[in-house]
């Protein structure tokens, strides 16, 4: 696939997530670019094979995850200006959702996996405005070089 097609497909999928909180179907990719449906599916699969932190639900043509968002609900609920419509791919990517909504307050709500009690982070343009509790930490048990080989379980 030409680099331009990868760019355009990627941008359309991510922009659709931002707009409606869900990924588009490949038929919508086809409609967006005025191409046959099968070509839309091909572009989706080629983009998903490009070693980005994105993946399809196994044995389907459905987007499961597209960083920083997730198309299946996760425990990382994302609200923008108080409206909860998005889910983040993981705890780390939940912080990166701030870059999807410039100038807007993004709130991450999630349970602590150890105790189930809530945690909440407010971010504006990459700046943490508030964290509750104040000592929130991130944890991953795999060295970063092994992440891609272990998606989506890293």
């Amino acid at each position: 696939m030409a680099a331009d097609h990868l760019d355009r497909t990627y941008h359309y999928i991510l922009s659709t997530f931002v707009e409606r909180g869900q990924a588009p179907h490949f038929t919508e990719i086809a409609a967006k670019f005025g191409i046959p449906v099968e070509e839309g599916k091909r572009r989706l699969h080629e983009l998903m094979a490009a070693r980005l932190p994105n993946w399809l639900f196994p044995d389907t043509d459905l987007i499961a995850s597209f960083a920083p968002f997730n198309n299946l609900p996760t425990q990382y609920r994302i609200s923008v200006q108080g409206e909860q419509r998005w889910f983040a791919q993981c705890g780390l990517e939940s912080l990166a959702t701030t870059w999807m909504f410039p100038g807007k307050r993004v709130t991450v709500n999630a349970p602590c996996l150890d105790c189930g009690e809530p945690l909440c982070v407010d971010i504006l343009d990459g700046e943490i405005k508030q964290a509750d509790p104040g000592d929130i930490h991130f944890y991953v048990d795999l060295p970063i070089k092994k992440w891609y080989g272990n998606l989506p379980f890293a």
Partner: protein, 77 residues
């Protein structure tokens, strides 16, 4: 890749793996990791084609945040 209420909660989590303490970051450091062009520029129309250009700053940020920990070193061996 999860968030916890504190470092103590990470360490007492049932799935915490001893020996992986380097995988624990403060919230502020985790935000720094996700604040280089690799993550900031995702909405740019040319993001995929420009992605290789974002690698050096991301690698540098990971090393800064982790104190040059091999756990966070993306450079080839």
């Amino acid at each position: 890749m999860n968030l916890f209420r504190s470092k103590e909660h990470v360490k007492q989590w049932s799935q915490f793996k001893p020996g992986t303490e380097a995988g624990i970051l403060t919230l502020a450091d985790a935000m720094r990791v996700m604040s280089t062009p690799r993550h900031r520029n995702r909405l740019r129309p040319d993001y995929v084609s420009k992605l290789p250009e974002t690698v050096p700053a991301f690698v540098q940020r990971l090393l800064e945040v982790s104190g040059n920990s091999p756990f966070w070193d993306l450079r080839p061996d």
